[in-house]
Symmetry: C2
Subunit: 345 residues, 2 copies
């Protein structure tokens, strides 16, 4: 680095003291207008950049926000929603002057862990994404001293931002019902104490079916993981058990991939024989054959709301809460609308 311009250099150039430079640059009101302008002008001309370390050392603040992700999982960063959400989060935080730091577990220091890393960097806040239950406790313990929000998972005692899964499930069932379907199955995601999407979507489905007096436990199945393979297995079990279902609402687009594979093998055609709705609207959803309907999570808002909440927390205006972002049903050609005569009563 050759940043070497310091406020001391500017002070010399302007012919004043470092204190005044500091004040001028930070928009304090106890500096004359003229001097301030002059300082700013000279600083710009000299290519001055405040040294964040000196600043952080003095102010005990870093303008850094840590992001903690999928503690303990490998390939954790490859979650399809992670990137867009983080991107939105990043943009919002940057508008407020913060930069993003990936916190690590490694360290050259004694008895180290991710959280102590955070404190050693004096990060001003933390975004927790998809963090594992067993890794949570230390964070909770620290949550009094460092602001944090959770995204995509409900972490008790933390503000959590996530998709309105129950609402989406209700919409899915309603949509299929309105299209004439009655035997509507659900392939749900795995249960997880923090990452509640699997549970919430399943519960939402369950309730919606119940409300319509359509509920049949045999139509509900939960996949073991979130992969296409898991979806494939679940669907195989499902159609073996209930070959007469006319629609399947899947908690993940990946499940639909597995399902489609089975359908091709067994010559089940979509949407003629089976209607399908997925969840996530990942990049390729529109290009598989057949293109299928799915819920688009609002990654943009998920990320920017998380950012907004974290900023509030940093400013001490925090209030623990669970914030829901609605998902939108993207309609493609995977659902059949039945004729009145086909609808079973």
């Amino acid at each position: 680095m050759s940043d070497h311009v310091t406020i001391y250099d500017i002070a010399k150039a302007v012919g004043t003291s470092t204190a005044t430079i500091s004040k001028a640059l930070n928009g304090r009101h106890d500096v004359s207008e003229t001097l301030r302008n002059r300082v700013i002008e000279v600083a710009a001309r000299m290519g001055y950049r405040p040294n964040v370390h000196a600043r952080g050392l003095k102010m005990k603040q870093s303008w850094l926000v840590g992001i903690v992700y999928g503690e303990g999982e490998e390939n954790a960063l490859e979650h399809p929603l992670f990137l867009p959400i983080m991107n939105a989060f990043k943009t919002s935080m940057e508008e407020s002057g913060y930069e993003l730091l990936f916190l690590s577990q490694h360290s050259r220091f004694v008895g180290d862990n991710l959280l102590s890393h955070a404190s050693s960097r004096q990060v001003d806040g933390l975004l927790l994404m998809n963090i594992a239950k067993q890794a949570l406790d230390p964070f909770l313990a620290a949550s009094k001293s460092i602001p944090m929000v959770s995204c995509d998972a409900i972490v008790p005692s933390l503000t959590s931002v996530l998709t309105d899964n129950a609402d989406a499930s209700a919409k899915a069932v309603r949509y299929l019902y309105d299209a004439g379907h009655r035997k509507i199955a659900h392939i749900g995601g795995p249960s997880n104490p923090l990452a509640v999407s699997g549970d919430e979507r399943a519960a939402g489905y369950h309730k919606a079916m119940q409300d319509l007096n359509l509920r049949n436990d045999a139509w509900e199945i939960r996949a073991e993981g979130w992969t296409p393979e898991d979806g494939r297995k679940a669907f195989l079990e499902l159609i073996t058990r209930c070959p007469d279902i006319t629609a399947v609402y899947c908690a993940a687009d990946f499940y639909v991939m597995g399902l489609l594979q089975v359908c091709r093998e067994r010559h089940i055609s979509i949407p003629e024989d089976l209607s399908v709705i997925g969840f996530d609207d990942v990049q390729w959803t529109g290009f598989v054959s057949p293109g299928f309907s799915t819920f688009r999570q609002d990654k943009q808002r998920l990320g920017s709301v998380a950012a907004q909440k974290l900023l509030e927390a940093i400013h001490g205006e925090s209030e623990e809460s669970v914030i829901r972002i609605p998902a939108e049903l993207i309609v493609r050609g995977s659902c059949k609308t039945m004729h009145a005569t086909e609808v079973q009563v």
Copy 2:
């Protein structure tokens, strides 16, 4: 933050000076074994964490590595290879004690830009990914004072790590040739001065065809972007122009998505009527119908080699170079092996 344990506290607890504490903790050799152990033990017990700012201020070093990507493009982070590569890079850097910082363009300061951000944070190195040509100059100017490497693009005067595209293309053509194909087409990526994949894959294909005396310019087409839609358009033009091709080597899996869509519409069956090879092996490649053969870029190595090179550069052992990581052809069912009788001479 409540990190408040400083070396001063430890000094008091141990009954020695801060200098000694510092030396002990940093493994200097001018501290007695006994004292060192005692210091380390006490530090651990007290939950000491070095303050990175104080350290950085003194040592002009931050243990931070900046990552710069897709300058100017929106949704740049959603490039399918970005995340896995960065993940591998991150892991390697962390093993050496570095953490990753996303540099931003925004700032509250005068005449600011991303690079001055880097200097104000005193980042120890920079990883450039997918950076646009027009945004490059300032980086190059700074590359003398701050170590940087480029990944997935060739940046002149910087060590660049990328997939061996020419080699992959040669393999693709060879593979199809050995399977009996002669009329092998190529849908290439767009030309880009830095992100050379499109050009390199096309050139590699061109040369391989030439070497086999198979070259036919009509079989070469370049897509306008990297999306399925671009691939679709290119393929439409291609089969209109040369309906008799028996194989297509695509520079991107996304192109294959577009191609498959067209094939379904026109009842071109794969691999019977047309053999296909893609590029990238993105997550879903094995689950579309039909699963197709494609080149898997070694994201793991791409990232870790980039990290290794950056570390070398940081340690001053750098030597500008272009490093190639081979891609592996993943064979699935999208290529037909012709019978000897079918092979055209």
